[in-house]
């Protein structure tokens, strides 16, 4: 029995190409991808594409409430957030516990960061040449599992 064969994609498909959600409609040019007016870009729901308005947060950025933070916020979501991150918690965990999409949580956190009510601890992301001691630390940690 032979397994099905993967075929490499040549030429390289443009990876920013948007998913095609529906078949072309009547009167629509077939070459729509080339039309700069119709970028068909994907947006995060609350993002609207205005980058810069939101803090640069990763799923695994750790958020922790500042010890001296008062609790003045009016929004119930934000007080809930502040309560949750008394100890460090990733943005992904905050999203899960609050039952809110990731992008909504980042909007709430942007305000809390601006008000200096929480602190963000940036993740270590993969670089061209990952740090050997980092990899060793992870291996050592996994070994203990």
């Amino acid at each position: 029995m032979t397994p099905p064969q993967r075929r490499r994609r040549y030429p390289k498909e443009e990876f920013t190409e948007p998913p095609r959600e529906r078949p072309p409609q009547e009167g629509e040019e077939d070459g729509e991808e080339e039309d700069p007016k119709n970028p068909g870009r994907l947006y995060l729901l609350t993002g609207g594409g205005e980058a810069g308005e939101r803090a640069d947060l990763d799923l695994v950025t750790l958020i922790v409430a500042r010890a001296d933070a008062p609790t003045p916020t009016t929004q119930p979501e934000q007080s809930a957030l502040l309560r949750l991150c008394q100890a460090p918690l990733s943005v992904a965990e905050l999203s899960a516990y609050l039952n809110l999409p990731f992008s909504v949580v980042t909007v709430l956190l942007t305000e809390l960061l601006a008000a200096e009510l929480v602190q963000a601890r940036a993740p270590i992301v993969r670089s061209a040449l990952p740090d050997r001691s980092l990899l060793e630390a992870v291996m050592h940690g996994l070994q203990k599992l």
Binding site: P88, A92, L98, N99, L134
Partner: protein, 206 residues
């Protein structure tokens, strides 16, 4: 996904709190088709019960500029399960189980690129569902290993036949696993880490 009012929010259990010394996190992505065992693998190694995060993405339709009112938007909600492993007092590892057929994930900047690497989980009964994701990881230069989950009624191919079928070069590890077992899932992650380590070493010498 509705916000739960404060009273109904259950935060982490006391034993699930990270220490205040936790300074930074890293992530590994586990990709694969529906039912291939992603959540099982996350749960097998995670120190917390797997949680779910969601994102809603909209695709801007055609004719937004010149055709008010008839603009079409399609919203897609994508969900992924994740778990956590504390590596040291300062470092935390997160594992995300990400549906492989979702091209949307690759438009989420940073989800894959920021990850240390990826595990492509495959089910030999439905090998083709992982073809697309392998191509995308290659295009984006995300290092990955392949783990074959062992289902009782799944055909068993020799590793080298799988390598040929998936068109993977010699250096990419392909391992067999049982995602339900912690030790087996841990070994898959370890294989990925050793692979990343060897990549780093070989790059350091060039």
């Amino acid at each position: 996904m509705d916000f739960k009012s404060s009273e109904t929010i259950t935060g982490p259990r006391a034993e699930d709190h990270l220490p205040h010394t936790a300074q930074a996190a890293v992530k590994i992505v586990i990709v694969g088709g529906f039912g291939v065992g992603k959540t099982t693998m996350v749960g097998a190694v995670s120190e917390i019960k797997p949680l779910t995060t969601e994102e809603t993405m909209t695709q801007a339709g055609i004719g937004i500029d010149d055709n008010y009112g008839s603009e079409t938007k399609t919203a897609t909600t994508v969900a992924m399960d994740f778990g956590r492993i504390s590596i040291t007092e300062r470092l935390v590892l997160y594992l995300f189980g990400t549906p492989g057929q979702e091209r949307f994930w690759f438009l989420w900047n940073g989800l894959f690129e920021g990850a240390l690497g990826a595990v492509v989980l495959i089910d030999t009964r439905r090998l083709e569902v992982s073809f697309d994701v392998i191509g995308r990881l290659e295009e984006r230069g995300v290092p990955f290993v392949v783990a074959m989950n062992t289902f009782p009624d799944a055909p068993s191919y020799p590793i080298e036949d799988l390598r040929a079928a998936l068109d993977l070069s010699e250096d990419i590890p392909i391992v067999q696993c049982d995602a339900r077992r912690r030790a087996s899932s841990r070994d898959v992650l370890m294989t990925l880490m050793h692979f990343l380590y060897s990549l780093t070493m070989s790059q350091a010498h060039t």
